[in-house]
């Protein structure tokens, strides 16, 4: 079972690297979907099948699709040249160094994680559901309100009203 974890992990890392380094937006998004699928596999291996399903459905299925829609709407695939100009190799050096430093800190920081209690069974979605609707009921309701706010906000922010200047204010 461990081998699957490592393979999925490797795929996730590889496709994320591809995702952030492509010039074409659609290519990048497709690689990202691949990465999310790999992460979903990892979730399944971590005894979280429900989450794995959610990852695919919502993350890869809804959010990434939203991205793709917007990308297509803005028609930025044609700006390959600008991306080429913007994405020179020297740009990667400093962020890579910083990330390496942070990674080193990260690894050093988590060296002393305490041992886990003995494994009895996987956590079924049923348990998650019960937990959601009893202990975290309030949070669920608030999340629902948040979603509603998001919908309204997105509609409002996305609307384009043509700016109308009163005919007296038009400069001749």
């Amino acid at each position: 079972m461990n081998i699957f974890f490592y393979i999925a992990g490797a795929i996730a890392i590889m496709s994320t690297i591809m995702a952030i380094s492509r010039r074409n937006a659609i290519h990048s998004l497709l690689f990202l979907i691949l990465s999310l699928l790999a992460v979903s596999v990892i979730f399944y291996l971590l005894n979280a099948p429900f989450i794995a399903a959610l990852e695919v459905i919502i993350y890869a299925g809804a959010i990434m699709v939203l991205f793709i829609f917007v990308t297509m709407m803005l028609n930025i695939g044609m700006e390959g040249r600008t991306e080429k100009k913007w994405l020179s190799p020297q740009m990667w050096i400093v962020p890579a160094i910083l990330a390496a430093v942070l990674l080193a800190d990260f690894i050093l920081a988590i060296r002393h994680v305490p041992d886990s209690p003995p494994a009895d069974q996987a956590i079924l979605p049923k348990q998650v559901g019960i937990s959601l609707f009893t202990t975290y009921l309030l949070a669920v309701e608030i999340a629902a309100i948040l979603l509603m706010a998001g919908v309204i906000g997105a509609y409002h922010l996305g609307s384009q009203k043509k700016k109308v200047t009163h005919r007296f204010l038009i400069k001749k």
Partner: protein
Amino acid sequence: MSTYIALIPAIPLLGFLVLALFGQKLTGKTIGIIGAGTVGIVALLTLIAGTEFLRSLPQVKSYSVVVWHWINAGNLKADISFSLDALSLVFCFVITFVGFLIHVYSIGFMAKEEGLSRFFAYMNLFVGSMLILVLADNVLLLYLGWEGVGLCSYLLIGFWYKEPANGYAARKAFIITRIGDTAMIIGIFILFLSFGTVNINDLMRQASEKWVAGSSIAVITAALLLGGALGKSAQLPLQTWLPDAMAGPSPVSALIHAATMVTAGVYLIARTHILFSLAPIVQTAIAIIGALTLLIAGFSALAQHDLKRILAYSTISQIGYMFLALGVGAWSAAVFHFMIHAFFKALLFLAAGVVILVLNEEHDIFKMGGLRKKMPAVYLTFLIGASSLSALPLITAGFYSKDAILWYSFSSETGSTLLWVAGITGAFLTAIYSFRMIFITFFGETKTQPSFLPGKTMTIPLIILAVFSVFGGFVQLPESIGNIHLFSNLVDNTLPAVVVNKTGHSEIVFQLLSAIIVLAGIYLAYTVYLKKPALSESFSHSRLNRFFEKGWGFDKLYDVIFVKPVVWLSEIDKDDFFDWLNICISRLALLMNRLLGITQNGKLRWYLMSFTIGIALILTYLIYR
């Protein structure tokens, strides 16, 4: 009695308040009535208080009243308290009486001026402050009055403020007297530190008990107080402000710079005479300063051609006589001369004011002339005043007072022949310049026509003062002539009598000598200025004359020593060094702003980069700790 004493300084101050607050809304006549009326009331009160005082002599020598408690801070207790004794009574009488006449005169003199309420407000404030000064029971209150008269002097010299030269003259007066005031306040500090009290009588008593005569602390304190007196009374070396102070209106010159403020120094020294007798060196210095001043001022007066400047130098000279008398210990003679001088000098200034006003602000005596027939009343009063000034023998009051001083300068314990010679030379010079003034102004051909004749408000005070200039002297006649000692008897209740060296010389010799000298001076003036004016013409173009005219070059000396270096220093410091420090700080702040502004360039990725670097640094630091 104590109410009278408390009211005497209060009423002019009340007049000042009324005129200052409501003066704009009152008519000229009301202002004049209020202004002169307050002083008139106070003159009456002084008379009443004075008669009461004289009646209760010799049992009660002084009255005092505490009006309210002023300062009570730790060791320092000072009250607003006034005390009336013989010395302050004489001064009060002169201030209120002469002051009243001058105020009445001002009603006529300033009738056409704008700012009439301001004038009378300042004059009332001045009279109030001067009365506080002479009636004060403690040195702090005295200093309050001292500063008050200095302020009023400044305000009144610069009364016609629209002319910048007047402002400069006022400023000069204030600054020079300020030098004296600083010396005085240091002296007051030393007195307070030594004795823990500010009450004058207490101070004098303790000083005589605790300080040894001739000790350095006594000498220093006395010298400091002398410094204050020199500033206010315009003696050497602080005499340069008085001639320029003639920029003010003539009533101001009469009241402040002839009769009262400039005699504040005399009052101070007389009031603290115990301190000066504890420092004989300082007292001798007073005499020497007095003698030198009267000579220098006398020579300078000889060369002036501005009518009021002659009188100003004459004032300096006459106060020199008072200082001479104080220096040899002839206290009552000094006060007597003060009183008589107040009469004739005020008279001279007022009359000069009339002449100047009538001739349309003409100050140069060489442009006047022949006014004898045109303004007989003014001429006669002016003549009487000048005769009193020159000490015309026997018939003028000035003779008796000046003669007393001359006699005591020779015969007193601390007197000397040299002082007497100086005094008699001064008398000679006085006779010359005063009659020079008369002959050039009133005789000869009329170069400027008078435009109008003065009214009653101006002439009547002149006449009254003239009467006093003649008859005022008869309260104190020397032994050889009438032996009346009314004045000295009164003053000796407060001040010690002069100690005379019985040197065997009789007084009458000296009196004859001074009489002859005075008459000789008058005759000389007659010859040079009336009979043969060519003589004076040739002299007036000489270098010596110009030296005298510039007041012996003191103005120039002070300009070179003090004024020019200070101006030069301020020029150097024009780009203020300390300002530069502040500018540097602000420039640094602006620099930091610009530097930090570079980091705020609105680019999102910059900000993200800076977050990341920060996180990396912090985490690295935390992990490696």
